[in-house]
Symmetry: C5
Subunit: 261 residues, 5 copies
C-alpha cells in the first residue's frame, strides 16, 4: 500500500481520537447498538445492491489496485523499446522467448498475440476490450466504497433519529436528556467518521490508482502495436515518452539507452 495512505489513515484516526480525548473520554464513544445500526446498516445496504460474487471480487480488486505497486512507466517504456529492438533484429517470432521473462500478464498476452501473427486490428481490439473490463471491475470496487460512503452518514442519521424518538418518548428525568441525546448523536458521529476518514478517501484512492494502471496499459497497447508495425525504436520511444510528464522524462532516456544498448 502507498505509504501516504497508511500515514493518512493513522493521522485521520489519531487526530479524531486526540480531539475526543482533549475534552472528553474515549469510552463515551463506544456504544454497541450504535455500531450495529451504522456499520451494520451500511454493510446491509451493500448486500442489497451487489451480488455476493461482486462483494467477494471487491476484496481482490481493492488488494490488487490499492496495495499493488504500479511499475514505473519508465521501466515499461524501456522494456518495450528493448522488445522493439529484438523484433527488428531477430523477427517478431523471437519475441516469444523474451515474453516469458516479463512480469506483466497484460504485456505478455499482447506479445503472444503478436507472435501468433494475429491481425493488428484484432490485437488492438482484444487488448482494449480487456482494458475496458479491467476499468469496469475497478469502477465496481469504487462503486461499492462510494455506496458505503453515502450509506454510512444516512444510517448514522437513522440511528440518531431512533435515539431522539426513544428519548423524547420518556422525558421523565430532565437530567437524563443530556446523556441520552449524547448517545443519539454518536451514530451520526460514527457515520460521519466512517464516510470521511475511511470510505470516501479510499474510494478516491481506488479511482486514482485505477487511472494510473489504465494509463500504463494504454501505453503498453500503443507500444505493442508499434512493435508489430515494425516501427523504428527511436520513434516508438518518442511516442511513448509523451505519456510521461516532461520532468520525469530525462530519466527514461538514460535508462532506455542503457538497457537498449
Amino acid at each position: 500500500m502507498d505509504i501516504a495512505t497508511i500515514i493518512g489513515l493513522v493521522l485521520g484516526i489519531g487526530f479524531t481520537i486526540w480531539g475526543i480525548m482533549s475534552s472528553g473520554s474515549l469510552i463515551d464513544y463506544y456504544d454497541f447498538p450504535s455500531i450495529v445500526i451504522t456499520l451494520g446498516g451500511t454493510v446491509a445496504s451493500v448486500f442489497i445492491s451487489y451480488s455476493l460474487s461482486d462483494i467477494a471480487k471487491m476484496g481482490k480488486v481493492f488488494q490488487k489496485t490499492v496495495l499493488y505497486k504500479i511499475d514505473s512507466a519508465n521501466e515499461i517504456i524501456a522494456d518495450i523499446i528493448n522488445l522493439a529492438n529484438v523484433a527488428r533484429k531477430e523477427g517478431l517470432l523471437s519475441l516469444e522467448e523474451y515474453a516469458s521473462k516479463l512480469d506483466d500478464e497484460f504485456l505478455k498476452k499482447g506479445i503472444m498475440l503478436i507472435v501468433d501473427g494475429t491481425d493488428p486490428e484484432l490485437v488492438r481490439n482484444i487488448l482494449e476490450t480487456e482494458l475496458v473490463f479491467l476499468e469496469e471491475r475497478h469502477s465496481q470496487g469504487q462503486g461499492i466504497l462510494e455506496s458505503m460512503g453515502s450509506a454510512a452518514p444516512a444510517f448514522g442519521m437513522l440511528g440518531t433519529l431512533i435515539g431522539l424518538v426513544n428519548m423524547l418518548q420518556k422525558m421523565d428525568d430532565p437530567k437524563a436528556i443530556g446523556p441520552n441525546m449524547s448517545v443519539a448523536l454518536i451514530t451520526t458521529f460514527y457515520g460521519s467518521f466512517l464516510a470521511n476518514v475511511i470510505f470516501i478517501p479510499l474510494a478516491l484512492k481506488l479511482k486514482l490508482k485505477s487511472k494510473s494502471e489504465v494509463l500504463i496499459k494504454e501505453l503498453m497497447i500503443e507500444g505493442l502495436l508499434s512493435i508489430q508495425a515494425g516501427e523504428n525504436p527511436r520513434i516508438i520511444e518518442e511516442k511513448l515518452k509523451t505519456f510521461i510528464p516532461p520532468e520525469m522524462r530525462t530519466k527514461v532516456k538514460n535508462q532506455g539507452e542503457k538497457e537498449v544498448a
Copy 2:
C-alpha cells in the same frame, strides 16, 4: 433473487428493529398518519410522474431483472461456439433446428434473422435497437425506484413539518412536547428508512443487474455476427473471452472444449 439481496434486506431491517428495541419499544414507531403521509406521498408522486402502464411495467421489469438468474457468460460462449461449429459444418440454414433448443429469446431471434439470410448490417441494427429499448425499460424501472428514494425523505420531512406546526400551535402542556415531537420525527425516520434500506439500494441493484444483462446481450450480438461472417470458432472464442474477467476464463475453455467436442 440474489441471495445477497435477501440477506441485505433482512439485515438492514433487522439491525434497525434491534436498534429501536435496544433503547425503546417498537410500538412507539407505529403511527398510521405518518405512514400515510410518507409512503402514500411517495407513491402519489410516482403516480404524478409516470403513466399507469409504466408503473405496471415496472413490476415486470423488476421481477425479470432482479429475480431472474442471468446465464453465466461462460455457458453463453459455449453455446455460441457450438453454433459456430454447426454453422461451419452444416451451413447457416442448419442453425434453425438448433435455435429451437435455446432458452434465450434474444439469441434465438438473432439465429432466426441469420437463417432468414438477413443482411449482417440489418441484423446488427435490429438486435442493437432491441438492446437499446431493453436498457430503456430497465432504466425506467430504475428511475421509478430512484424517484421513490428521493421522494420518501422529502415526504418524511413534510410530515415532520406538519407535526411541528401542529405541536407548536398548542403548547399548553409542556409534558406533551416530548412525545409530540417524537411523533413528528417518526415521519422523518420512515422516509429515511424507506429511502436508505429499500429504494436506493434496490435502484442500484436494478442498475447493476441491467448492466450485466446488457453485457451478455452484447456478447451474443458479437457472437452472432461472427457466426454469420463464418469466422473460425477459435477466433470467436478468443474474441468473446475478452468479455469475461481473466480469472473466470480458464473455466470457459474447459467447458467450451467439452461441449464443442
Copy 3:
C-alpha cells in the same frame, strides 16, 4: 391528461390534508404573507430567468405534452406500412392524397417532402432539425418547472428565516413563541409541499412524455425514409417493430395485417 397524473395529484394533496387534520386544524396552515413569500417568490424567480414569451409558451408546451394523448406506436407503424404499400403500388406521388387524411402534422409534413421529391438527405435533415427544436421547447418547459421546484423550498426557507428573525426580535411573551415559530415554519412547509407534490413530479412527467413523443417521431422519420427508399413493407415492419417492447409487438402484427390487407 394521464389518469395516473390526476390520481397522483389528488392522492398527494389528499394525504397531506388528511395528515394535517389528523392532529391539527387546516386553518392554521393558511397564512397569507407566507403564501406571498413562497409562491410569489418562486414565480418572481421564474420571471427573472425566463422571457415573457418563454413563460407564455410554457403553458402551451405543458398542455400539448402532458395533456395530449400520444398515438400508440402500433397505430403509427400500421399507418406507415399502409403508406409503404400504397407507395409501392401507386408510386410516391399518390401519397399526397393519403397524407391529407393523417392526423399527425409531423408525419404529414414528411409525406409532403417526399411527394415534392426532396432529396432523402434533406428530408432527414429537415425532420431531425424539427425534432431537435421540439425537444428544445419541451426541455425549456421542463426547465421552468425544475427552476420552480428548486426555488420553492429556497423561498420557503427565506420566509422561515424572516419569521424567526422577527420572532427573536421581540420575545417578550414566552407564550407567543410556540405559535410564532409555528407560523415561521409554515413557509418551509409550503415550499416543500409545492416542490415535492407539484413542481418536481410534473417536471419529471413532462420529461417522460417528451421522451415518448420524440421516440414516436424518430420512428416516423425512420419509416418515412424507408418509404422514400422504396423498401419492402415487411422489412420496414421488422425495422420499426424494434422500437416497441417485445410484449406489445404481437398486437402490431395482427393489426398491421388487418389494416394492410
Copy 4:
C-alpha cells in the same frame, strides 16, 4: 433588459420586503457587519477565483447578453433570403455593398469572408470558432454569477456561525439571547436572499439568452454557407425555417415574401 427580468426582480424584492413588514420592521434587517461578511465575502471569493480582466469583462458580457435585444429569427431569415436572391442575380461580389447595411457584426463578417472568396470549409471553420469563443465568454460570465450564487449562502452561514459563537461566549443576560440570535440569523437571510433572488436567477437568465444568441448565430452560419453554395433561396428558407418553432413560422413566410419581392 427583458421586461420580465425587471418585473421579476421588482416582485422578488417587493414580496420579501412585504413579508418582512407584515410581521416585523425592515430596520431590524439592516446590520452593517452582516452585509460586509455576506456580500463582501462573496465578492472576495470571486476575486480569488477570477482575474481582474475576467471580472471586468463580466460586466460587458452581462450587459451585452442580458440587456441586448436579440433580433428575431424571422428577420434574420428574411435578411438571409434577401442576400441569397441578390447573390443569385448579381453574383457573390455584389453582396459587399449590401453587407455594409447589416447591423449584425457576425453576419457582416461572414459576408465579407464569402466576398473575399474564402474556401467554404474555412468560412465555416472561422465562424464556428468565433461562436465557440462567444459561448466561452458567456459561460464565464455565467460561471461568475453561479460562483456568487453558491458563495453567498456559504458566507451567510459563516456569518451566522460567528454570531452564534460570539453569543454563546457571553450568555450573561438571557434577555439578550433572542435579539443576538436574531442578528446572527440575518447573515443567513442575506446569503439566501442574494442567492435566490439575484445571483441564481440571473445566472440562468444569462444561460438562456446565450443559448438563443448562439442559435441565431448558427442559423446565420447555415444561411451563409447556403448562399456561398448558391443554393435556391426557397430551399434555404425551408432549411432555416426548421430553426423556428412551427407556430411562429407562418409569419416568416409572409414577411420573407414581402421583403424578397
Copy 5:
C-alpha cells in the same frame, strides 16, 4: 500570482476577522484541538487518497499554474506569424535558429519536431498527447484542492459532533453550556472558512488558469501545423485570430504587422 487573487484572499480573511471583532473577540476563535481536527483531518484525507508524489507535484502544479503569468495570446500569434514568414522565405530548417530564442518550451519542442521533418500527423499526435497530460496534471492539482474543499466542512462537522457529545455527557453546570457549545461550533466555523475562503476559490482559480493555458497551447499546435503545411501567413493570422475575443483583436493586427514587417 494574479493581483486579484491576492486582493480576494486579503479581503476574504479581512472581512471575516472584522466580522468577528465587530461583536466578539478574536481570541475566542483560537482553539488548538479544533484546528487539529479540522485542518489535520483534511490533510489526512488527502494523504489517504493521493500518493506522496502526487501531493508533492501538487505544489509545483499550483505554483506553475496559479503564479505563472500566461503569455498574451497576441504575442504568441505574432511569434507564430513571424516564424511562418521565416519558414516561407528561408525554409523550414532555418526555424531551428529562431526556435532557440523562444521562451515557451512547448512551442520550442513543436518547432524542433518540424525541423526534424517529423510527419505532420505525428507532430499533432505528440503535441496533443503532451497537452492531454498537462491537463491531467492540472486537473489532479485541482482535484486535491476540491477534495480539501469538501473534506474541511466534513471534519468541521465531525469536530462539532465530538464537542456536542462531550458537552452533553457532563451537563452539570448549566452556565458552562454556552461556552462549551461555542467551542463545539468553532470547528464548523473553521471547516466552513477553509472551504469557502481558501480551498474552493483556489480550486476554481486553478481550473480557469489551466483552461487559458491549454487554449494558448492549442493555438500553438494550430499555428505550428499551419507553418509546417506552408500556409500563407495572412491565412494563419486569420485562423489564429479566431482564438481571441473580437475586442482584443485589433491590437493583434497592429502588433502583428509591426513585428512581421
